[in-house]
Symmetry: C2
Subunit: 186 residues, 2 copies
DNA sequence: CGGGACATGTAAGATGTTACATGATTGA
DNA sequence: TCAATCATGTAACATCTTACATGTCCCG
């Protein structure tokens, strides 16, 4: 039975939306790419692809021209797959995603830019911006209240946590500016 | 059989080294604290505590004075627990930890500051600094090679990844300065 | 013709998630 | 006394990790 799709499934779906590929190629991408800290192990990739197929998100591309001979099976997203990713991008951003899944949110930003129209993309960026700012407020409040009772190393580690989110807030502002006025082009 | 200790176990051990506590209190800490993105679910905490007990890292504190009445069982680290944490802090830092477990490394920094002498702490900071710098070099190289072929959003997301590590490198430098000359106090 | 990369998959085992079960204590 | 909180735990389930199995193709 189709449970909740995992972050891995969305990451795979995103890659396939950019370019249909085989399981093996996807594994290589995860192994070679710094973005998205997912495992390149066959034991996670292939079952995930099977689940996605069951969901109707992807399907084997027709044997097609360049069937490169080996057992390679090129997978391509379906219309439903595209819809699932769009739906993800439109979904509200939750606190726990900001807390420990910022990587996934950055991925989502990339796919939102590819799949949504400029207006919706701007809305996504706005949601992301607000979510991060809210969490930053929380973190700073925590720091104010607890820093004094922490050892110096604890203060430094906590300030690192805050600085990481401040940095990301700055990059989000940059993205916001980038997509603010010149969304569609001639 | 004792497999490899998990990050959760080390996080729990660290908290217990600061202050003996019950499973429930540890759960509350995970729920309330921004540091360490571990689950506060009983289904992960209690089995982890049981494994740690099996390993001899912790043991129930004697019924002691303030047995607060309820079924509370206060757990305290043993000598072996302390040794396990020190060993973790002295261990070389691996690429994959820098890639997707910086939170754990910050935790480790806090516990290194609490458990190791200044000389060893400085060595830990140096290792952390080098590991992060090396990974940053890799990330920047990847950016140089691939940024051009990425969509704008992909470039922004990738630059966010880099900026996060640059921020952390700066905080590590701060820590390094902090522990450089005035390690022991008057 | 043999080794290495390509390519897909399964099996065993451990961990984590969610939901439930259980019971004591406190306070309204 | 009723509900909320404190407090520990288990069961079912899904996922991930690691290791293995299998077979094809290319190149030296």
């Amino acid at each position: 039975m189709p449970d909740q799709p995992t972050a891995l499934e969305y990451a795979l779906l995103g890659l396939l939306l950019q370019q249909p590929a085989s399981g093996y190629q996807l594994r290589r991408t995860f192994a070679a790419t710094p973005m998205g800290h997912h495992s390149d192990s066959p034991g996670s990739i292939y079952p995930a692809l099977k689940r996605m197929t069951r969901r109707g998100w992807i399907k084997p591309a027709p044997p097609s021209p360049a069937a490169n001979g080996r057992g390679t099976q090129v997978l391509a997203p379906t219309q439903r797959g595209r819809a699932a990713m769009s739906a993800l991008c439109r979904r509200p951003i939750e606190r726990h995603e900001v807390m420990h899944a910022m990587e996934s949110l950055w991925l989502r930003f990339v796919y939102a830019a590819a799949l949504l129209d400029v207006t919706e993309l701007r809305a996504f960026i706005e949601r992301l911006r607000n979510a991060v700012r809210e969490y930053l407020t929380e973190l700073r409040a925590y720091y104010r209240q607890h820093a004094k009772s922490l050892p110096p190393a604890g203060q430094i580690a906590l300030s690192a946590g805050i600085a990481i989110y401040e940095t990301q807030a700055r990059v989000i502002d940059r993205a916001r500016r980038h997509y603010s006025k010149e969304g569609s082009k001639p």
